[in-house]
């Protein structure tokens, strides 16, 4: 005999089926008529992102429409995921600029170190999360694409205002 079950002596109101059933039906009916629904209607209704949200990268440009990047190589150096590919170039006046600047958004862990380390405030992580592509190759963002992004950029953690107020 497999009687190793803990048997509790319960009052009638706990073992009654009919009363529990009616109570349950009252609860479900209350929810049925409740106009407050918890689902977010996603494409129409979006989450408010934190100002410190670290999402899709963005390369800022100067007043001439050129990338601010001077190809110093700090961001590929600090990147823990090794997702930034930078080939520096130099023009005839000796100004350095990136010949190739690619970020693999799939490899990126969105730590935001690239933005923190950038001396020119060129590369930023942004307040944006909707990146979908038909192929994996589409997630390698080149310089042109990084410059074309328009979303607001991340405000990094400020020691003077640790709570982001």
């Amino acid at each position: 005999m497999a009687i190793q079950v803990k048997v509790l002596e319960r009052p009638i109101r706990q073992t009654s089926y009919v009363r529990a059933m009616l109570k349950g039906m009252a609860i479900t009916f209350k929810h049925l008529t409740n106009p407050h629904k918890v689902t977010w209607q996603y494409p129409e209704q979006k989450w408010d992102l934190s100002p410190r949200w670290r999402g899709t990268h963005r390369m800022l440009t100067d007043e001439n429409g050129k990338a601010k990047c001077v190809a110093c190589g700090l961001c590929p150096q600090i990147c823990p995921a090794n997702c930034i590919k930078l080939v520096p170039g130099e023009d005839e006046e000796g100004n350095r600029y990136p010949l190739v600047y690619e970020i693999d958004e799939f490899r990126c862990i969105f730590c935001g170190y690239c933005q923190e380390v950038c001396p020119e405030e060129a590369i930023h992580v942004g307040r944006h999360y909707e990146n979908s592509e038909y192929s994996r190759a589409g997630f390698v963002y080149d310089l042109e694409r990084l410059m074309a992004q328009t979303h607001p950029v991340c405000e990094m953690w400020d020691p003077a205002d640790p709570r982001g107020e």
């Binding site: 009687i3 190793q4 048997v7 002596e9 319960r10 009638i12 009919v18 008529t33 629904k37």
Partner: protein, 434 residues
């Protein structure tokens, strides 16, 4: 003048208030079959949407709202998806029955609707057209017979799939149907005692004359309701499909349109069961407190109003089905059997004896079924109703003592409890054969 004479002849030959006969009867029957089938299929399609919407609302969600305005085209998308999906034929399945099974569950579910009167008769130039496809003189027996056939589809599906879960689902279904059919049949005998006829149209007519049966047959109504839930395999009696234990049970191996057939069968069973509840206990198409509409002479607007009334009542029971589905958990198998055989059957038997006695006593006392107390309340109806309320209170007080459904936490006597506790302190019992 000639036309007028022809018209008079025509009028003479076809009285709008006399039942239609001859060739027009055939044509009207065909039209009714087509219309009822179409309306039923559309209703079923939209019931799937209603089910999803109601479940969503009960769970504080929105439900499908992407296809069409407010999700109203969802059934079309679902249907299209089901037709486009790949048909799978498991190699181990026994193909002839595997293919036959969805048909076997689909057809009985649909043809049950044939005898249900869904509106007041419609007078046409060719005579009075009954608003039921076939008003069989043995209407109710036909329903009981066809409803029992539905189990074959499920059992055959379970067996021919050659899958242990499907087989278990089929077995459960057959056990369940057999258990609950008994009390369903007995619960309905009381209706037949009151109406004195098994034809559904005369059951409706006698409810119009003497008041609806849900009140004088309150317990019978509850028994029938519970049995109807069990017969349609809806929660809390959905053991045959039991997603969590049997992975959808008997239709595990089915895909595409064959799966869809089981789905349609389930929903048309629900519709028919709701229509049956309406017809037997809630006056069918009768409009409450408006006898003009419910009685001859018939007129087309009476047909329309009664049709709407029938739809509202049936719709209420369909809603009840969904409401209960999204409230109650599934019974355990032993609970199912104990409710069926140890609760429902004895109650149905005793109830039948009590009601037969009460009706006999009322007839002996000379109370006419159509007599009205104070020109409004039907005496017969009220007396039986009060009797039923007393019985219902007794049944629920006696049975609702933790024993109605054998619970996981049984109420045990003090001596048994002491024994159990002693066992528990001794540690695990030695295995058999030690």
């Amino acid at each position: 003048m000639n036309t007028y004479a022809a018209l008079m002849l025509f009028q003479h030959a076809y009285d709008p208030q006399a039942p239609v006969h001859g060739a027009p009867w055939l044509w009207f029957s065909i039209i009714k079959i087509l219309v009822v089938f179409t309306v039923l299929m559309v209703t079923i399609a939209y019931l799937t949407l209603a089910e999803r919407k109601i479940s969503a609302w009960i769970q504080d969600r929105h439900g499908p709202n992407r296809v069409g305005p407010r999700g109203l085209a969802q059934p079309l998308a679902d249907g299209l998806k089901n037709i486009m999906k790949e048909e799978t034929y498991p190699s181990a399945a026994y193909s002839p029955l595997f293919i036959l099974a969805p048909v076997m569950s689909f057809i009985p579910a649909l043809i049950t609707f044939a005898v249900i009167p869904f509106a007041a008769p419609l007078p046409t130039p060719w005579g009075l057209v009954d608003m039921s496809i076939a008003d069989l003189p043995v209407g109710f027996l036909y329903i009981l017979a066809i409803a029992s056939l539905g189990v074959y589809g499920i059992v055959l599906a379970g067996w021919s799939s050659n899958n242990k879960y499907a087989l278990l689902g089929g077995l459960r279904s057959s056990a369940q149907m057999v258990s609950y059919e008994v009390s369903m049949g007995l619960a309905v005998v009381a209706v037949l005692l009151l109406s004195g006829n098994v034809s559904l149209s005369s059951i409706v007519a006698s409810q119009v004359a003497t008041g609806w049966y849900f009140f004088p047959l309150l317990i019978g109504f509850f028994l029938f309701l519970v049995a109807a839930f069990a017969e349609t395999n809806r929660l809390p009696f959905d053991l045959p499909e039991a997603e969590s234990e049997l992975i959808a049970g008997y239709h595990t191996e089915y895909s595409s349109m064959k799966f869809s057939m089981f789905f349609i069968a389930e929903y048309s069973n629900m519709t028919t069961a709701s229509a049956r509840l309406t017809t037997l206990f809630f006056g069918g198409w009768a409009v409450p407190f408006w006898t003009t509409v419910d009685t001859a002479p018939w007129h087309w607007w009476k047909t329309v109003i009664t049709l709407v009334c029938f739809m509202i009542k049936t719709g209420f029971f369909l809603f009840l089905y969904m409401w209960i589905r999204w409230t109650l958990p599934r019974f355990r198998y032993d609970q199912l059997m104990s409710v069926g055989w140890k609760v429902m059957l004895p109650i149905a038997l005793c109830y039948l004896v009590v009601m037969a006695g009460a009706i006999l006593a009322l007839d002996a006392a000379g109370v006419a079924p159509s007599a009205r107390f104070g020109d409004f309340v039907p005496t017969y109806w009220a007396i039986l109703g009060v009797l039923n309320i007393v019985l219902a209170v007794l049944v629920f007080v006696v049975l609702d003592r933790g024993r109605l459904v054998s619970p996981a936490s049984a109420r045990v006597g003090p001596s048994e409890l002491a024994e159990l506790r002693a066992m528990a302190t001794r540690g695990p019992a030695p295995a058999q054969g030690d």
